[in-house]
């Protein structure tokens, strides 16, 4: 089945998200109100003194649960603002540059494809290759496709450093920063440039879509994690005037970048750039269209590296940018950047979630005395409505035919990367650096070291199970045996849910460990790209 997806013709078709109608907003509002009322009921039930067992653990469990629920509420509020900007035909004669960057070790053939695709873009423009490979073949490829080759060696700040240097060397007014693994469609610039008629618009972001999902479980999961973001989530953020730049596929007004002293530098350079632009008063636009497709990490190790980079980097926005720019942001922007920059706290909450059953088995700490049946009865409506909302907003995905679904691979992958997020959060707290690691464009062989904490977790689970069985067979007093049965095995069920997710992650790592390195772009025929609008 995966093999047929490989030839998914749908991928190479221009596509845009559905319009936002009053009716659809109305039905969505119904769901949100139902969700909020269910959460209120759950809240009312949760905080009862009868539920207290160990107070510190109960506080901890409550923080985990309610941190998660609070984020869900924020996301729902965000969806309430959902908005799709109307297409604006660009003026003729704008001076536009396309930047793409190359670094040592990146495959030459990929640039061959990307630069060719750039040269196919309809709107008149100049493509620049910002190169520090010191490899003459890169210059040759650039010239083959009519791109300007700029040698920018030894600049600090990796990609952003090269971009900033190049900005000083060009005289165009608009710059599209293209990730080298992305293949743009010919109509890319026609879809975005129109918005710059508004002199206050600083940047226009489009969806990021991918074409190598077929390669592995990891690739599919990683792509699934992004679908909702580059659809309803960003549309909501756009509605609230707080859509962000994602580094790749973002078109900037050069003047805007100059007003903040150039592209931001750091592990989350894109987010730093957008918060600074917003603080400087520039407006942003998100257009939910598929006008390019690129690559997601194919093997578990590369995925984790990418996630570590982001989770470490994003906290920088929380610690250094958000407080500094606070007064210059609008209320929604403050909320939005606070929410984004605390996203990776999920590593800490998942760690605690994973730890709770083990604390019970090894230290006898029980967080809460809750009737499991009541927990389900009160909690289930919240879960059902959250799932309904998740499915409902999929009507606004950028490419529903290939993106709809429960995204369970993405969920498993997100859970199984908790050690990475946790590490990222800890590094941020002690302000320790991780080296800049470029995201691998091709699969890396072997079982990733990022699976070690997961394997440890599985081993700990098995050892605990053995210990508890031994304990209950030979040690535990007869007087409590029958009475603790439900609690003990209930806790095991709790731990087992986590183990299933983690096992999924280990599977993803194992499956991608034997991936044949392949160059997915080689199969792409640029003539197949259809820039005409799809039929409804």
């Amino acid at each position: 089945m995966l093999k047929t997806n490989r030839k998914n013709k749908d991928y190479w078709q221009f596509w845009e998200a559905r319009e936002v109608t009053t009716t659809s907003r109305f039905f969505f509002l119904i769901l949100v109100i139902a969700g909020v009322v269910s959460i209120a009921r759950f809240f009312d039930w949760w905080f009862r003194t009868g539920h207290l067992a160990s107070i510190p653990l109960f506080v901890l469990l409550s923080l985990i649960i309610w941190y998660g629920i609070l984020r869900i509420i924020v996301i729902w509020i965000n969806y309430l603002g959902i908005k799709k900007p109307e297409r604006i035909e660009p003026e003729k004669g704008l001076k536009v540059a396309i930047f793409t960057t190359s670094s040592p070790g990146e495959p030459l053939s990929m640039f061959d494809k990307t630069l060719e695709a750039c040269s196919n873009i309809d709107y008149p423009h100049t493509t620049y290759l910002l190169d520090d490979t010191q490899d003459a073949r890169f210059k040759a490829v650039a010239e083959k496709h009519g791109a300007v080759w700029l040698e920018l060696v030894g600049l600090p700040g990796a990609k952003a450093g090269k971009v900033n240097k190049a900005l000083q060397m060009i005289d165009e007014d608009f710059v599209l920063i293209m990730d080298p693994d992305h293949i743009p469609f010919p109509n890319f610039l026609d879809e975005v440039l129109g918005y710059f008629k508004d002199k206050e618009v600083g940047f226009v972001q489009v969806s990021q879509a991918y074409y190598n999902q077929y390669r592995s479980f990891t690739a599919r999961g990683a792509a699934e994690q992004t679908y909702t973001f580059y659809g309803p989530t960003m549309m909501g953020m756009h509605g609230f005037g707080t859509s962000v730049a994602i580094g790749a596929n973002c078109t900037f007004r050069k003047k805007a970048l100059e007003s903040i002293g150039g592209h931001g530098i750091g592990l989350a350079e894109d987010l730093i750039t957008s918060i600074r632009l917003h603080a400087a008063g520039w407006k942003s636009v998100f257009r939910p269209v598929v006008v390019s497709r690129g690559l997601v990490p194919e093997d578990f190790g590369s995925f984790c590296k990418q996630q570590l980079k982001w989770s470490r980097g994003v906290f920088e926005v929380l610690f250094s940018e958000w407080p500094r720019l606070f007064t210059k942001l609008t209320g929604w922007q403050r909320l939005s950047y606070l929410t984004i920059s605390t996203y990776y706290l999920v590593g800490v909450t998942t760690f605690l979630y994973v730890a709770i059953p083990f604390l019970y088995f090894w230290a006898g700490w029980l967080p809460a005395n809750m009737d499991f049946g009541m927990f389900l009865i009160k909690g289930l409506p919240v879960v059902i409505i959250a799932v309904l909302i998740y499915l409902y907003v999929q009507r606004w995905l950028s490419h529903p035919p290939t993106e709809r679904g429960l995204h369970w691979r993405g969920m498993i992958l997100k859970f199984a990367t908790w050690p990475v997020f946790f590490l990222g959060a800890m590094l941020a707290v002690v302000n320790a650096e991780i080296p800049y690691i470029p995201t691998a464009k091709k699969a890396v062989k072997g079982l990733s070291p990022y699976t070690r904490p997961l394997i440890f977790q599985v081993i700990l689970f098995v050892l605990t199970l053995a210990y508890v069985i031994y304990d209950r067979l030979y040690v535990v007093s007869e007087g409590i045996l029958a009475l603790t049965s439900q609690k003990v095995w209930g806790m095991f069920a709790f731990a087992f849910v986590a183990i299933i997710m983690v096992a999924g992650g280990i599977y993803a790592a194992y499956e991608s460990s034997n991936l044949e390195p392949e160059e997915p772009w080689k199969e792409i025929n640029l003539q197949d790209i259809k820039k005409e609008k799809h039929e409804k």
Partner: protein, 387 residues
Amino acid sequence: MKNKLKRLAFVSAAAFLGIALVLIFVYLGNRSSGPISEALGTLGDKVTDVEHSLLMKGREPVRSKELAWFNKYRNDTALLRHPDTILLGVYDNDYQKSFDNILKLDKMLDAPLPLIQIYIAWGDKDNEQFPMLYAKAIYDLGSTPMITWEPWLNDFNREEHNLPPAIQPDKNGMAAVARGEYDFYIKAWAEDVKSFGHDIFIRLGHEMNDPYRYPWGPQNNKPKDFVAAWRHVVDVFRKMKVNNVLWIWAPQPAYLHYKEYYPGKNYVDWVGVGALNYGTVAPWSKWWTFKEIFGNYYDKLKPFKKPFMVTEMGSLTVGGERDEWFKKAFTNLPKKYPDLKAILFFDDNSDNTTLNKTLDWSIVDDSTTCEAIRTAIQTTWNVNEKK
């Protein structure tokens, strides 16, 4: 203006429908409170059963082995109805968390206790249904459960059970029980008792003649209604062929009227009374000996010709010597009260049902008292026949 109105209508319509959606969930939840929560409850019980059959086979039972002599009794209803020995038992208020106190008391008295009492009120809540988990746990420990079953009638959702509306459900409540209004609950119990599958004692509506105590008493009911209610409950069990219950009728003989409450010899297996010495903690109490409390009751209740059970035996420590109290009570007890066939210690260390302060009746940590009881039993009872 028009725009504002439109927006207001939009939001309030959505709010209305959203709340309606939740109410539908709530309604479905309530509707299914039968099957779903039952299924969840059964799931919980099943966990214990599965562990029991998978894991506990490999575990050596200790207590039930020590209580092996009691198997003869607990597996024979006729013998439980007229035992040829005195069965000791206990209520411990920690039982929901752990039976460890009871195991400790076993050791202190050097005699594992064959009867374990728990108290259950009537109602819709989970802890008001037949306590299958505890009954099974008690059986696994080698004992037999004695359940004090208290017909409080104010904890039922009257609408859900199609009960006639009532501001005070307990007013004339026994007549309502007798009319069969609460059969849904009684039948569910009978079903569970049957599936439990071993003999149990049930003390239904105790101290029904005390005018100041429980709602099933004279302030709400006529004696004949209590009797009718009792017979109705027993008849429901019998009709459903639930024959593993021994019914304990337990009046408070300190009051003048109690005979009127007797349901009849075919409806009662045992007669129970409490024997608690409050010492001098309350203005109305003084240091009474066991003989002064129970001896008097014994004579009054003898004409019913049923075996006696002291359902709660205990003494506080204010106003006298507790170890002496127990020593006197237990010395030569079988000779003094030949029809007394069961005694249950009241090992409750936080009793606040009678006075507006917490009373500690527990003896498990009082080694002098336990020693006194043990010595009295070992030297003056003919215990050898038991072991």
